[in-house]
């Protein structure tokens, strides 16, 4: 029941993690009903730094390498990434 969470750029730096496993089974949501917002809320309980990093207004969420809104449903085996706005090119 696990999801791979990836963190990039300032989020990776501030939180000191680039990748963690997240167990969907720890959520109250029924299977198939956990969305990005639910996971953000759960991770925000890991501490003030997590709460702050994950709730910055311009945070980008990518689910399986596609940018998504917080309503996107997250399933077992998915890869969910959080990062600030992109600055390549």
């Amino acid at each position: 029941m696990s999801v791979k969470i990836k963190l990039f750029s300032s989020l990776r730096e501030v939180l000191g993690e680039s990748e963690i496993e997240f167990d969907l089974g720890t959520l109250d949501s029924a299977p198939g009903e956990a969305d990005v917002a639910t996971i953000k809320a759960a991770l925000s309980k890991c501490g003030a730094d997590w709460r702050e990093a994950l709730n910055q207004p311009n945070l980008v969420h990518a689910l399986n390498h596609k940018v998504v809104y917080t309503q996107a449903i997250v399933s077992e085996g998915d890869e969910l990434a959080f990062f600030p706005p992109m600055t390549g090119g």
């Binding site: 990836k6 990039f8 750029s9 300032s10 990776r12 311009n58 990518a62 390498h65 596609k66 940018v67 990434a81 990062f83 600030p84 706005p85 992109m86 600055t87 390549g88 090119g89």
Partner: protein, 153 residues
């Protein structure tokens, strides 16, 4: 018709020769981006480019295919670097081959405007005062939005 993510400097002449491929379209446009020596008025001594490899590859491949379809490209190529870059080194190279100049030039502009905001790369500038993440620019989002407005029409 392909994307490269690489740590090495971009060999612009080799990329051009490969894009043109001996059977050129009538029009070939290219764009190369380099590391600036300053940013918003403060000196920059180097750049670290972090990226999300799997997503970057997917986003740039989709971008190239979208440009191909929008601008009827015969060929295209996107090369983006990651890792440590010195001032004046190449960061990014895009090239497009089409029947008409407007298509080739607009395709390069579209690919650049889109990858700036949509491809998962993050710049960390190094300077005398230390290191800092580069903030995204409103002007980049605005340039990106121009294409979306045209799409919606």
């Amino acid at each position: 018709m392909s994307v490269a993510l690489q740590a090495e400097a971009i060999d612009v002449a080799a990329e051009y020769a490969r894009l043109e491929g001996g059977i050129p379209g009538a029009a070939v446009a290219t764009f190369t981006g380099y590391v600036r020596a300053s940013s918003d008025g403060h000196p920059v001594t180097g750049l670290e480019l972090e990226h999300y490899p799997e997503m970057a590859l997917k986003v740039l491949q989709e971008l190239g295919r979208e440009a191909e379809s929008r601008f009827q490209l015969g060929r295209w190529r996107i090369v983006h670097r990651f890792g440590l870059l010195a001032v004046a080194e190449t960061i990014v190279w895009v090239g497009a081959v089409a029947d008409h100049r407007g298509q080739a030039i607009s395709a390069c502009e579209y690919m650049m405007d889109t990858l700036k905001t949509d491809a998962p790369f993050w710049k960390r500038e190094q300077g005398p005062a230390g290191e800092q993440w580069v903030a995204s620019r409103a002007s980049d989002s605005e340039r990106r939005a121009r294409w979306q407005a045209r799409e919606a029409q």
